[in-house]
Assembly symmetry: C2
Homo-oligomer: 349 residues x 2
């Protein structure tokens, strides 16, 4: 990691499980990092102090910044801007003012995106920030972009998603020259809809390591490191994948109550079954980065475990160290300068 | 079942595993039906005769109609029409001429659809036939329509998918007044894209039992019996779900080779693990119906097991008995006569 001590801002109030989980995750991140780390908890001072008092912190520094208000899960996204004194509003201003190097929230995704757009703005050359999400795959992970910020997209947006996903995969995932693919319904460039056909043409002549179209089955097979799609398809895929966790859990539960053999088998296979269920539990991956904002932002599931918070803190740190946002801006500039007149027109248009 | 002896046509040449599997499936369907059944095998006479000679048939009748040609999996869809003497072409003409009551093919989906459109035509009032597919759910099955025939759709098409899916669920699945939902990225009518927003409006005033929008997670949770979406989203979902089978299989295999405890657990839980993997194995459900053609058509996976063929034969029979196509035509007529001017305009337009 880098030599300078980084500060990660944590909106500790947005989740479903109360601030205790966020504080515990922050403590784990600090104590297990192996080097000094700084975490700034944002939220109700009294609650956070009482949670923090339960833990011992080694060599790192966890501070608290008070925010009297909270954006709840069912509040409209605009509350991310309207509620100026909410933990997400206060946290975003800390990031804007460079008091921190990145922010994590377990809160309302729409509100975090709205606050991010209002306080941080977009990176130069990015028309639409996106939400990315890691899917499990046979040989590692696949980053799907966008999973819900942009239900309706132009080809230009999908190319930007490719640039942003590629930069993230390289910086945070440590994948050199990530393979970028376009989600469609056939490998042939002409398969799909108008959006995928045009996007395929532009990606082919881009500077990305474009490996062509992939189908729904190729995500788990790990045929690409980054898969781009519009936020409508991506959100449906994400929520379907998330529901597998509950589906497998219920199936195992029914099986265990069936007979003694199954119960014995389930006990012996316990670690495996838990791992299988976790494979599709989005919280396990830390969080979903918001890409394209002028500041590192990550959203964790509302019911994140301390481990998920810890992983998210480390991911944001790696992203900052790996200069994700600089790489995104450089990538977008490369596409703008591309020889391909079609790409140029699209990206400028 | 009904009193008249039904004839099901089986294109026995299209699959990946050779005609033996189709013949075995036909024999199982006949011997296990509990009443006399007629199956017409279409394909290479010599091969089919030699396969059929390996089996004993009780009280039912399996005949062979020779077709010298085959449409292969990687042939273009138009070969379904161009190759007139292929097993799918000959089979479709038998269905058109009422020699059979329904057809099943393990072949090239695009070619079967093309041949169906050419030889059978569409049902009155249907603008676009669709492919439906059963997904597992917590409380039974969910029928997703369309899973690939129509990558680009209008609201009118999605409403037709709802009518067709509802008729199929009622006739073949025995579900009274099936719950029809629209796949989107939020329950609110205004969430999604232009297509889902307009479709939601029309479905609300339709005669279907419309339960609103559902999200990706609601498919496995069984919140609806029929879920409509365009064929782009549906195909990506289908292929993702299909890939879970291989993903789980490989995970179990890796686990078993890990240590003796896991191996013992896997043996004890064997039936469960197999069932879990099968849950996402599309072949287990028999097949995917092509809805909207003037004749009952079902496509089975190219690598279908005899059991899948057997289930498909029975499903086509139930569909014929349950008058699926009559119900579809009645449903479309009801929508056309609807009081909703928007729906009327859309459906006539």
């Amino acid at each position: 990691m880098s030599d300078r001590q980084k500060s990660i801002i944590l909106d500790a109030m947005g989740g479903d499980l109360g601030p205790g989980v966020c504080v515990e995750g922050a403590v784990q991140a600090c104590n297990e990092a192996g080097y000094p780390l700084r975490v700034i908890l944002v939220g109700d001072e009294r609650q956070l102090e009482s949670e923090l008092a339960k833990h011992h912190i080694n060599g790192s520094h966890i501070s608290i910044v008070h925010a009297p208000d909270v954006v709840r899960m069912d509040d409209p996204p605009t509350d991310g801007i309207r509620k100026k004194d909410s933990s997400i509003g206060v946290g975003m201003r800390l990031l804007r003012d460079k008091t921190g190097d990145g922010i994590i929230s377990t809160g309302n995704t729409g509100a975090v995106m709205a606050a991010g757009l209002a306080y941080l703005g977009r990176l130069p050359g990015i028309s639409r920030p996106a939400i990315a999400c890691l899917f499990p795959s046979e040989n590692g992970r696949t980053l799907l972009v966008d999973v819900g910020a942009n239900p309706v997209c132009k080809a230009q947006n999908l190319v930007e998603f490719g640039v942003m996903g590629s930069a993230y995969c390289e910086s945070v995932g440590g994948v050199p020259n990530p393979r970028v693919a376009l989600l469609s319904i056939g490998e042939e460039p002409t398969k799909g809809n108008d959006l995928t056909i045009l996007t395929h043409q532009i990606l082919t002549t881009s500077n990305l390591n474009f490996v062509g179209n992939v189908e729904g089955r190729d995500i788990l097979r790990g045929r690409a490191d980054v898969v781009v799609c519009d936020g409508f398809v991506g959100n449906i895929m994400l929520k379907f994948a998330e529901s597998l966790h509950g589906f497998l859990t219920n199936a195992v539960r029914r099986q265990i109550s069936r007979n003694y053999f199954s119960r014995a088998g389930a006990i012996l296979m316990g670690p495996f079954l838990r791992r299988m269920r976790r494979t599709f539990d989005y919280a396990e991956y830390g969080g979903a980065p918001l890409l394209g904002l002028d500041g590192m932002c990550m959203i964790c599931h509302g019911s994140s475990s301390p481990k998920a918070i810890k992983n998210a803190i480390w991911a944001v740190e790696r992203g900052f160290d790996g200069r994700v946002n600089d790489r995104i801006v450089e990538g977008i500039q490369r596409e703008g300068k591309s020889d391909n007149p079609k790409a140029g027109a699209e990206l400028k248009g």
